[in-house]
């Protein structure tokens, strides 16, 4: 009806403004109905008000629905009311302020819920055709938030008029949702439901799920004419206790006696040191308590409690079923089918999303481990302070951000600076400590532990124990989302790219540069390398410095999404070593494979048991311990002379 009325009314308004009814005229004409509205008769009046096209009509309807419309007792003039301490602040229907009035001078109108619903529907239609697209979008949001049957007709009516293609699509989608819930007949609803098959958007599932809402019921026999989702067998589909509780709630069976109640009842009937003839001392066992209670039951002192046999009989005598709130089976069937098809697609997309998550976790591990792949993998020097180098990098980023307020610039400054700081720290450590311990790997491990402990405590002393923020620049905020399910935050994309960059850098350094050649030579045979004119000391120093420097850059990257604390490094150190060990020592591809495996595996476990990330880490470490059984030298093992021993 609206579809024809509304354009007509608007056309009339535009062509012959004098002939159209204005708002005051309508109000004057139907004053009695407005003041004492009834649900049955008020419809045309509301439509007429809406049809005036007067911008203040919406304000008036809104005020009316909010019970903020009132009539001045003296002259019958109608005002929009606003509560003030003195009484009411008045605004005329034309939008002009009209002073204030004490509460006693004004009769405020109180339409009932039915009338307010009609007004609400009219208001929706009003805003749905509002010339301002923002207003129209707001109306759509309001409908999406609380869909109601009355909104369907105005929404449908407004689709054709809609000029904005985005809004039009949104309206059509919303109309579809409303149809599947409130459509007139089963066929239109089923059609609306089936049109959504394969649509994985969240709002589709939110629209479909209410159709499948069930409630658990119990009856003597299955009722006819209700839409039953499933009948339940006690002990199989539903625990017997739960089934019996249903019976008790439905008033079909007496409550069972809990042990606590039994005890209270027994305690209330102690006579001469005995209850029901059973001495108190014997009541420390359940069978004797049961006997005492039965004796009390026989003498009528306590109410009879359901025995096990009675419970079994009561359970057997009733049927249990889940009943759909939606009475139409065709609709629920269609909704179930459609949801199943959606779930399949959602499953696939979740797997894809999980893959992305795993990829990003793997790149974090890779980034944390790539420095180790150099120091441990190439030089075979185990550096337990590697985690603290990561932490130093992160703190460098934090300090730079304190000095340079622009986040983009500060990150660009922090990356090379973190490299420089940790490069220097690495070189210093190599010169002072590690150089003396090349022959004693276990002691390198211990000495670097000592340094790690000291560095952590120093960081704690300087920066305190609370976490420091390292804020990413604004252009890294948000997420790259492909749809409602698959999305990845830009920071993680950036970290992935950084990991790729470092992979490339490492390969270039080792395979294409003079330094890489010398590093490989010194690693394989220091004495031979030295006799060829390579200075092993210098090479070791530089290699260790580069490995540490990369740890510093990784620290800035990790600090962007994790809080910077003095424990930042130790959180990653075990995983980093695992990555290198699992992947295979001495090979960058091994570190890559190790990171991919550990990251992927951890995400899969987290997905299987999402509530418990601690468990995921536990199982992952167990898995690694077992994995080393089968490939002790890692996924990609060096062969031949390069393998050393």
């Amino acid at each position: 009806m609206f579809r024809f009325l509304l354009p007509l009314a608007m056309a009339v308004c535009l062509a012959l403004p004098a002939l159209a009814q204005t708002l005051p005229e309508v109000v004057e004409a139907s004053r009695a109905q407005i003041e004492k509205p009834s649900r049955q008769t008020i419809g045309p009046v509301i439509d007429a008000i809406a049809a005036t096209g007067d911008p203040s009509a919406a304000a008036m309807l809104q005020a009316w629905a909010d019970r903020k419309l009132g009539v001045r007792k003296a002259d019958g003039a109608m005002f929009l009311l606003e509560k003030t301490p003195e009484g009411w602040a008045l605004t005329g229907l034309d939008g002009h302020a009209a002073g204030t009035a004490p509460t006693s001078d004004i009769t405020d109108l109180k339409p009932n819920a039915g009338v307010r619903e009609l007004i609400g529907a009219a208001l929706v239609q009003f805003t749905l055709t509002d010339p301002d697209p923002v207003q129209r979008m707001r109306a759509l949001d309001a409908i999406a938030r609380s869909p109601a049957k009355s909104q369907l007709a105005p929404l449908r009516a407004s689709i054709e008029e809609e000029a904005d293609p985005v809004l039009k699509a949104r309206k059509e989608r919303l109309a579809n949702f409303l149809t599947l819930q409130f459509g007139d007949d089963s066929a239109t609803r089923v059609a609306a439901i089936e049109s959504l098959a394969g649509d994985t958007a969240l709002d589709v599932r939110a629209a479909l799920n209410p159709l499948l809402a069930t409630s658990r019921k119990v009856a003597v026999a299955l009722p006819q004419g209700v839409n039953i989702a499933a009948t339940l067998t006690p002990g199989k589909d539903i625990p017997r206790e739960a089934a019996y509780d249903l019976l008790v709630t439905a008033g079909l069976a007496p409550a069972r006696l809990t042990l606590a109640d039994q005890k209270t009842a027994l305690a209330a009937h102690v006579e001469n040191g005995a209850v029901g003839g059973v001495p108190l001392a014997e009541l420390a066992s359940q069978p004797r308590r049961d006997a005492a209670y039965e004796a009390l039951e026989k003498s009528g002192q306590v109410p009879a409690a359901a025995t096990d046999a009675e419970v079994a009989a009561a359970l057997a005598a009733h049927v249990y079923y889940d009943q759909y709130a939606e009475p139409d089976p065709a609709v629920t069937d269609a909704a179930r089918r459609t949801l199943a098809s959606i779930e399949t697609r959602v499953g696939l997309m979740t797997a894809a999303d999980l893959g992305l998550d795993a990829l990003s976790l793997a790149s974090i591990y890779f980034l944390a481990a790539i420095g180790l792949a150099i120091t441990f993998g190439v030089m075979r020097v185990i550096n337990m302070a590697h985690g603290e180098f990561i932490m130093m990098g992160a703190y460098t980023g934090y300090v730079v951000q304190q000095m340079i307020p622009n986040y983009t610039v500060s990150i660009l400054v922090a990356l090379p600076l973190a490299f420089a700081v940790t490069f220097a720290a690495g070189v210093a450590m190599e010169r002072l400590v590690i150089r003396h311990l090349y022959k004693r790997p276990l002691e390198t491990l211990l000495a670097t532990f000592g340094i790690s402990i000291a560095l952590q405590q120093i960081a704690k002393n300087i920066f305190g124990t609370q976490a420091r923020p390292l804020t990413a620049p604004a252009w890294l905020d948000g997420a790259l989302s492909f749809n409602d399910i698959i999305s990845i935050s830009y920071i993680r994309v950036a970290i992935f790219l950084l990991a790729l960059l470092f992979l490339g850098f490492f390969l270039w350094l080792m395979k294409r540069t003079r330094l890489g050649l010398e590093v490989r030579a010194v690693t394989q045979n220091p004495a031979m390398a030295a006799s060829m004119g390579i200075d092993p000391d210098r090479i070791n120093m530089l290699t260790f410095g580069i490995g540490s420097g990369i740890a510093g850059i990784a620290g800035v990257a990790i600090g962007l999404f994790a809080k910077v604390t003095s424990e930042l490094g130790s959180d990653y150190i075990v995983q980093s070593f695992m990555t290198v060990v699992v992947g295979g020592v001495g090979n960058i591809w091994g570190a890559l494979a190790g990171a991919a495996m550990i990251g992927g595996f951890q995400k899969v476990i987290e997905w299987l048991n999402p509530s418990n990330t601690l468990a995921a880490q536990t199982y992952m470490i167990l898995f690694i311990i077992l994995f080393i059984q089968f490939r002790p030298r890692g996924i990609i093992a060096l062969k031949g002379r390069a393998a050393g021993d």
């Binding site: 000592g450 340094i451 402990i453 704690k460 536990t618």
Partner: protein, 407 residues
């Protein structure tokens, strides 16, 4: 036999003598039976230190003698503590629950008591049922053997897997550290059944001894710890001497050569790993009742690293070195972190030892590793010795004996 075990190992005799004197002295000076010069709190610290010395002994056998740097022995230590802790906490809670239920007119059933205990213990983590792992906690006779069995079996399985795969050197260290981390993370969960990060508490109260004052209890624990340390020292000295001990040192110095000579290297390693794990567990079982509380933070990998630090500073490869290291470092540590050490004002900055002790320890550790691999125990080598039949040089110079090295 002209040369008995003790004459071949004179240091054992000296150690036992000194330990006995020390124990006697503390007992006479403490509040429980003596003149009360030493406060109870310090007796507890000393008792705990003795337990730490025992676990350091175990660490010395596996690391100093066998050359396996295990970073998991504090996990076994804590596991032993958890096993006694479960019994202590259950028994203590049971006493409280029985007392509370005694007020009601109907005597409680066993199930009600058990339920009450479960609610008391697990109310903190939102549970009311006793998990499976507590099945034996009601009985000391069933639970206390678990102190040996659980860490022993864990060490056996882990060691078998690791040694079979020929994981050694730094890889093994990292793997043991991973095991420790996994165990700690597991215990941090509430559904592991050990109260998550709340841990077990109230362990200082022995069931049935509620009336005994803590001063007496602490000296009893101190004596028990001393006895335990003596027994542990004898056991480990015996294991590390003779042919078996030589084989262990050979594993440390050249595992490959020993394997080619036909020794079952993996068997030796597995035995030592399991044995030391059990010794560590016993030490933990006596440590935590004196500490009163245990939580998963005790298993953190850093604890095992500190253990290595003690042994290294004390001097690896000699049992008394481990004891000295553990005692000196842990007592110094509690002195520094307890806020008793005077702060050093530098004018622009005040060195507060609570904050800087860890730094000092870390750096001391680096220095010891670099310049004094024999640790504090190395000082004893400077004493004039009447007979030195080719004493081994310690871990660094490999299999060379003194005579060969000098040659």
């Amino acid at each position: 036999m002209t040369r008995t075990f003790l004459t071949r190992n004179p240091s054992t005799l000296w150690f036992l003598l000194l330990l006995a004197l020390f124990t006697l002295g503390v007992t006479l000076l403490a509040e429980g039976f003596g003149i009360g010069l030493i406060p109870t709190a310090f007796v507890k610290v000393l008792g705990k230190t003795l337990c730490l010395c025992l676990v350091a002994l175990a660490m010395d056998l596996i690391w100093g003698y066998t050359g396996i740097l295990s970073l998991g022995h504090m996990a076994f230590f804590a596991l032993g503590g958890y096993m006694t802790g479960m019994w202590l906490m259950y028994a203590r809670t049971e006493e409280i629950v029985v007392q509370a239920l005694a007020g009601s007119p109907i005597p409680p059933t066993l199930e009600e008591v058990a339920q009450g205990v479960a609610t008391q213990i697990f109310g903190v983590v939102g549970g009311s049922d006793l998990p499976m792992v507590w099945s034996f906690a009601y009985s000391a006779f069933l639970q206390l053997p678990l102190v040996l069995i659980v860490p022993g079996v864990l060490a056996l399985i882990f060691g078998w897997l690791a040694f079979r795969a020929r994981v050694n050197g730094v890889y093994l260290s990292i793997l043991t550290q991973a095991m420790t981390l996994a165990l700690a993370l597991y215990l941090f969960q509430n559904d592991s059944g050990l109260r998550g990060n709340n841990g077990l508490s109230g362990l200082q109260n022995l069931p049935g001894l509620a009336e005994m004052p803590q001063s007496t209890l602490s000296i009893l624990f101190f004596l028990a710890s001393a006895l335990l340390l003596a027994a542990g020292y004898l056991l480990l000295a015996w294991v590390s001497s003779g042919k078996f001990g030589s084989a262990l040192r050979a594993i440390r110095d050249d595992e490959q050569r020993l394997r080619f000579l036909g020794y079952p290297v993996e068997g030796y390693k597995l035995f030592v790993f399991t044995l030391t794990a059990m010794v560590a567990a016993v030490a933990g079982a006596f440590y935590y009742p004196q500490a009163g509380i245990i939580n998963p933070a005790e298993l953190a990998p850093i604890a095992s690293i500190y253990l290595a630090v003690w042994v290294a500073i004390g001097g690896r490869g000699r049992l008394y070195g481990a004891v000295i290291g553990a005692a000196v470092v842990s007592l110094l540590s509690s002195w520094f972190t307890g806020g008793m050490a005077p702060a050093i004002p530098l004018g622009f900055y005040t060195i507060n030892w609570v904050d800087w002790w860890t730094v000092l320890l870390g750096l001391a550790f680096v220095l010891v590793t670099l310049f004094a691999p024999r640790g504090i125990g190395g000082l004893f080598d400077r004493l004039p010795s009447p007979r030195r039949h080719g004493a081994q040089l310690g871990p660094d110079d490999g299999a060379l004996r003194e005579k060969e090295a000098d040659a």
